[in-house]
Symmetry: C2
Subunit: 238 residues, 2 copies
């Protein structure tokens, strides 16, 4: 077994996108997982995480939703600029998310009937928006995601959802979490929120170290949420 | 391996109590688990659950906190009368909880340094109050518990806590859940709340069938919360 990364340039709404496929060399007809990155776009930390997820027996597509060459770093004074474009145009965002799923389902190793999505921070919002679009995925996992719904009506949510939430997240305070619970309850879907105490935003991100802004790696929440995701994916992709 | 039940009559604050020890015959120096029953007091459903927990490698004490002979059933017109006595006297309740832990630690098969508590409905409140008393347990798991804090100051909470919560529970609506999150955050302890959507009160209770009052068995939440408990106990009792 050798897990490899392969860059995949594909068309999508608005241009070309550079995603990365992470799979075991011998994988055939395995479930496929979309991995949506945080605000910065695809990067090494996502490819590393994708390898951990691929090792569970899945083929992973680290999905580019910004467009080829459009990435930022924490040092960038305007690091949120590509995210902002999509936050300002949730219909375009939805179209790109659905295209990412189409690309995942087209990967030869993937069993297109068994797919799920996971995502971090803005990527958690991508997971939720993909589910809100009524996409044909079995499950979605949001890690320290962002919960505001798009300004248009959603389709029926068929995906099961697991939301892993830092209680002290300044981007998603308890009111926002309760609002999401209310939205998903009204949507009638199968959902769970795992709220972790003494935990802020970006708790899975080893590079996050801005406690004064409520962003910090939290090893307990990181470990527990990874385990919760593992169990959840096993449940929905069985 | 044969899991057996042994009735244990013991003294406690206010009289005699009839608890039940559920262990594997061959158990020696295993972690001990307190199991606090729901409003009705100890009953067959608790002993059955205790057997499931004992099968994980633990010695379980199904703790009587009402007193010998003091039990009710769902058919009882005043089924909550023993619970009410303790809700009205949280200091007495605390004394009985601490005594239950003492009894657990005295069981010969139990490694007194490795204990935890689990509980259902009113028993979930018992778990929280035991933790609030600063009891020396490594962890506590509340299933569809009740969250109001006692009317006196708490000790420092050293136990790790997992709260398994039905989002639609009329006894613990979102506001009460958020209030508990706030309390535990201020207490500075290690806590998690797993909130299950489309799930009301009593979701682990196969005998609960009053959907018009928000009480019903929910197989997904039952299975997921049992798994979460299993992982949590393994983590804290390692």
């Amino acid at each position: 077994m050798a897990i490899t990364r392969n860059t995949m340039v594909h068309e999508g709404p608005g241009g070309l996108f550079e995603s990365v496929v992470v799979t075991d060399d011998g994988a055939a007809s395995v479930p496929g997982i979309l991995l949506f990155p945080n605000v910065l776009g695809t990067k090494e930390a996502d490819f590393t995480m994708a390898e951990k997820v691929a090792a569970l027996g899945y083929a992973v597509l680290v999905a580019d939703v910004y467009g080829q060459g459009r990435r930022t770093t924490r040092a960038d004074p305007d690091m949120a600029r590509y995210m902002k474009e999509l936050n300002d145009d949730r219909a375009l965002m939805k179209a790109r998310l659905l295209r990412s799923l189409e690309v995942l389902k087209g990967i030869s190793a993937v069993d297109a009937a068994r797919t799920a999505a996971i995502g971090y921070c803005f990527g958690g919002k991508c997971v939720l928006d993909l589910a809100r679009a009524g996409a044909d995925i079995r499950g979605g996992v949001s890690f320290h995601g962002v919960y505001d719904a798009p300004p248009f009506a959603n389709a029926a949510i068929t995906a099961k959802l697991l939301i892993c939430h830092g209680w002290d997240d300044p981007i998603a305070p308890p009111d926002a979490m309760v609002g999401l619970g209310r939205e998903l309850t009204e949507a009638g879907c199968d959902w769970q929120i795992h709220a972790y105490g003494q935990t802020g935003h970006a708790f899975t991100d080893r590079d996050a170290n801005m406690p004064e802004r409520g962003l910090a790696y939290q090893p307990d929440a990181d470990r527990r949420s990874f385990k919760a995701m593992t169990d959840f994916l096993a449940e929905v992709l069985a």
